[in-house]
């Protein structure tokens, strides 16, 4: 057991898999010589050499296209998109090519690849470097979508993603990179599609992801002070989605609040709410409430950005509203 930052957990997870499997290679901007602009890939060039850890030009379509072509022909690439906002410049490769190839060919094409990206706000980087775009990925059939909240999950789910036979979009949260947590020694391999119940309570189910998990936990502890006991579920992966864990909890609590960083419309929260509104309708004791970023681009000033993203205080207020 060692304490590791979320940032260092990335390199550890990758190193574990690259050591095990020669077919794993990496490509991305500034990932090799510089160890990544977020320092998530430090040491990997030295350990695995320039054939396996490759700096690319600023050409996201080429990076992801190359990852796809390599995956179709026997490799297991890990590609990096530096900021998840940049998925917009290469979305065709992700949404139209990678996601659809297996289906269109009736299963002929294998695409064991991982695309890592730094996602989310809180760093005062402004509207083009702060988005939470995991809902973009979730809306495209054919992609798996993972977003860990702890260093241990980073290692374990990254390993699972690399071993997964399907394309996985792996969202690392920028504002969690500096956070620390205990990570067990030795090989670590998680399972995609298992939510984690981070806190158990009987009054309300709070579902969160990535950086919203610590905030939901903080909100839960404030709520506990007011006699409201929340279950906090960390989804960890959006596809596959652990509906069972959510539904079981809602059945017990009768109340659901989702906490997401996505802007208001069509986020993953809306999906979770819709599933529950259909499948657990008769278990619900009150309206379902989503806590989201308002439907605005993220502002850069710290005062405004803090206001935009769901805070523990806002979660508390919304939970109390949901409970009526």
């Amino acid at each position: 057991m060692a304490e590791l930052t979320y940032r260092d957990a990335v390199a550890r997870g990758i190193a574990q898999e690259m050591t095990r499997d020669e077919s794993v290679i990496m490509l991305g901007e500034d990932i090799a010589g510089a160890g990544g602009v977020f320092k998530t890939t430090v040491g990997l060039l030295d350990q695995f050499g320039p054939r396996r850890v490759r700096d690319t030009p600023i050409s996201e379509q080429a990076i992801l296209g190359a990852a796809m072509g390599a995956a179709m022909t026997g490799l297991r690439p890990i590609a990096e998109v530096m900021f998840s906002d940049f998925f917009a410049v290469c979305w065709d490769i992700v949404a139209n090519q990678i996601a659809k190839a297996r289906y269109m060919t009736a299963g002929q094409v294998d695409l064991p690849l991982v695309i890592r990206s730094a996602n989310g706000g809180g760093s005062r980087f402004g509207a083009q470097h702060s988005q939470s775009v995991e809902n973009w990925a979730m809306s495209i059939p054919g992609l798996k979508v993972v977003a860990p909240s702890t260093p241990e999950d980073v290692v374990a789910l990254l390993a699972a993603a690399v071993r997964d036979p399907d394309p996985v979009l792996f969202f690392e949260h920028k504002s969690l990179y500096a956070s620390k947590g205990e990570v067990p020694d030795g090989e670590l391999v998680g399972e995609l599609g298992q939510a984690a119940v981070r806190l158990q309570g009987n009054d309300v189910t709070i579902v969160a992801l990535a950086a919203m998990v610590p905030r939901a936990l903080e909100a839960a502890s404030q709520l506990a002070g007011r006699g409201v006991h929340a279950t906090v579920i960390d989804l960890r992966s959006l596809v596959p989605l652990d509906v069972t864990t959510v539904a079981e909890s809602v059945t017990a609590t009768g109340h659901l609040v989702t906490v997401e960083e996505n802007p208001r419309l069509c986020g993953w929260g809306a999906e979770v709410v819709s599933i529950v509104a259909e499948e657990c309708f008769y278990d619900l004791d009150g309206p379902i409430v989503r806590v989201t970023t308002p439907h605005v681009p993220l502002p850069s000033a710290d005062a405004l950005e803090d206001l935009a993203m769901p805070s523990a205080e806002r979660i508390v207020a919304e939970v109390l509203r949901a409970l009526g």
Partner: protein
């Protein structure tokens, strides 16, 4: 630069071109009968390029094509029956009806897909070449695309990356002078849409008569061996013309009559047939090839029309590697 192809190669090319021509003409008939669904894009008139590469490539080399991919698929010896059945949307289709004409793929034949978004497959081909290079497999990725594709961003990114990493990929621009209904010359800053861009990637400009199978074969062989030798990518512009419209819905009326007529005169198959005979190939052999092609197409149509509609369970299959589409527990 290289030797002219030997007679076996030339007969192979003639055979491939004949297969392609008869196959697509029949597919067009079936479309007129309402049997081919969706859209389709024929290579009628452009066959020499696909055939020459088909002859020049080794079995393990990869093809990446566009929605205009029937010829390139047949060039890899993918059996005609499943291809025709795919155009008809049948369960015995190459992709069981899930892809259709625009997405022909046969991984066992190293036909790595037909891509319907302009430009997307260029970087994907680069990735295959990266894999070949990483594994020192000696394989080459060959990527076919149209003139219009040279103006999209993915073209630029793919060419640069392939050149920087000196990967074994051959980019083949089939310049048929038109995009869909608009002439390439009217929207391109240079006269030769591919060749005049080669310098941007440190590559030599290569232009070849795309209606002359022997000429295409020569540049194909050169580019393939350059790739295999580790000397990096090539960018070839093969000038050609499509006999018909862009897709099945298009009569192609935006093209001047005399331009169309001049190119019909230069039919790559008619002229190649004449050349082979003039150079001593027995007419009987030619006719035998033609008869075999016709028989193969007949058989393919029979196979395809006998196919069932795709079964309903296919709808939710093949999204993920486990065979299904489940995104939840």
């Amino acid at each position: 630069m290289t030797e002219p192809p030997d007679i076996d190669q030339r007969l192979t090319m003639f055979e491939l071109m004949t297969d392609m021509r008869l196959f697509e003409k029949r597919a067009y008939d079936l479309f007129l009968q309402g049997l081919v669904k969706g859209t389709s894009h024929l290579s009628l008139g452009q066959e020499a390029i696909a055939a020459a590469f088909g002859a020049a490539m080794s079995e393990n080399d990869w093809t990446f094509a566009t929605y205009r991919g029937h010829a390139h698929t047949l060039a890899r010896r993918v059996p005609m029956g499943p291809v025709m059945a795919e155009l008809l949307g049948r369960d015995n289709g190459l992709m069981r009806g899930k892809g259709g004409s625009m997405h022909l793929t046969s991984v066992p034949h190293h036909m790595m897909g037909s891509y319907a978004i302009v430009g997307a497959h260029l970087p994907i081909a680069v990735g295959a070449a990266l894999s070949a290079s990483y594994r020192s497999s000696g394989q080459v990725a060959v990527c076919f695309f149209g003139d219009g594709t040279t103006n999209i961003g993915a073209f630029h990114e793919a060419l640069n990356l392939a050149a920087v990493w000196q990967l074994p990929v051959v980019f083949v621009c089939e310049n048929n002078l038109y995009m869909e209904y608009t002439a390439i010359g009217s929207v391109t800053a240079v006269a030769r849409p591919a060749a005049d861009r080669a310098g941007s990637y440190g590559l030599e400009p290569v232009v070849v008569d795309g209606n002359d199978a022997d000429a295409v074969y020569a540049v194909a062989v050169a580019a393939m061996s350059r790739a295999r030798a580790g000397d990096g990518p090539s960018l070839i512009e093969a000038v050609t013309y499509r006999h018909g419209g862009h897709s099945r819905a298009d009569p192609g009326k935006y093209r001047p009559d005399d331009e169309v007529a001049a190119w019909l005169e230069r039919d790559p198959i008619v002229s190649y047939r004449a050349r082979l005979i003039a150079e001593g190939v027995d007419v009987a052999l030619i006719e035998q090839i033609e008869a075999e092609a016709k028989a193969a197409v007949d058989a393919a149509v029979a196979e395809a029309t006998a196919g069932a509609e795709p079964s309903a369970d296919l709808l939710e299959m093949h999204v993920f590697a486990d065979g299904g589409s489940s995104w939840r527990n």
